[in-house]
């Protein structure tokens, strides 16, 4: 998933307004922020598959996206925020782990249980629904943003431009559409 990660971050912000927004957004994106450099340094591998949904193959992503490493990154990231309180630290960890949960829906079985494990998981909507996955993700985005908007109306401590947040995430989702994305 892509835009749904950011929508999840905003929903978590609405749930725990004390948590810094930038931290939640880094958290939900962390596994892919690690994936980029890991590929550049040869720690992980990916290849492009033009014309075959989703346009790329994640050949080895065990250090950024395996179940065990997702938990490790979640705990490590949460600990960085321990001084802000237990609730904030917990929601930061949850932000990171939400990435694994959402990717589990889309990824074909390319997420290992731990680095080097032969067992890989993923429901594979990217492959099973080459065009339909985009609509499934849109539904997830809508659910998260609906929650964010509802809470932002009542709590003035965040969401000063809540509609701009919603529009930005919808634009991100459009940019990732199978018929627009540069990766297709």
């Amino acid at each position: 998933m892509y835009s749904a990660h950011f929508a999840a971050g905003m929903a978590l912000k609405a749930r725990v307004p004390r948590a810094p927004t930038w931290g939640l957004l880094v958290g939900v994106a962390l596994l892919d922020l690690l994936f980029g450099p890991f590929v550049l340094f040869g720690i992980e591998r990916a290849s492009l598959t033009p014309g075959v949904s989703p346009g790329f193959s994640l050949d080895y992503i065990d250090w950024s996206h395996s179940l065990l490493m997702s938990l490790v990154w979640s705990v490590a990231f949460g600990l960085l925020f321990l001084r802000a309180g237990r609730e904030v630290a917990m929601v930061m960890g949850l932000a990171v782990f939400s990435h694994f949960g959402l990717d589990f829906i889309m990824h074909p079985a390319d997420m290992a249980l731990w680095p080097g494990s032969d067992i890989h998981v993923g429901l594979g909507l990217w492959k099973k629904l080459p065009g339909g996955w985009w609509w499934v993700e849109l539904a997830v985005v809508a659910a998260f943003l609906n929650y964010y908007l509802a809470r932002a109306k009542r709590d003035r401590s965040f969401g000063g431009r809540a509609w701009a947040v919603v529009i930005t995430i919808v634009i991100l989702h459009l940019l990732n559409a199978p018929w627009i994305s540069a990766l297709q």
Binding site: D32, V39, R161, V165, L183
Partner: protein, 36 residues
């Protein structure tokens, strides 16, 4: 696009929205609310 470009693309694609969304999420300043 080669693999290096793909990795950079993913990095930018995931990093760029963070400051934009965080900026939009800031609470409104009192002066903004009064203007409305």
């Amino acid at each position: 696009m080669n693999t290096t470009a793909f990795a950079l693309y993913m990095l930018v694609f995931f990093a760029l929205p963070i400051p934009i969304l965080a900026w939009f999420d800031r609470p409104r300043a009192r002066s903004d609310v009064e203007e409305e």
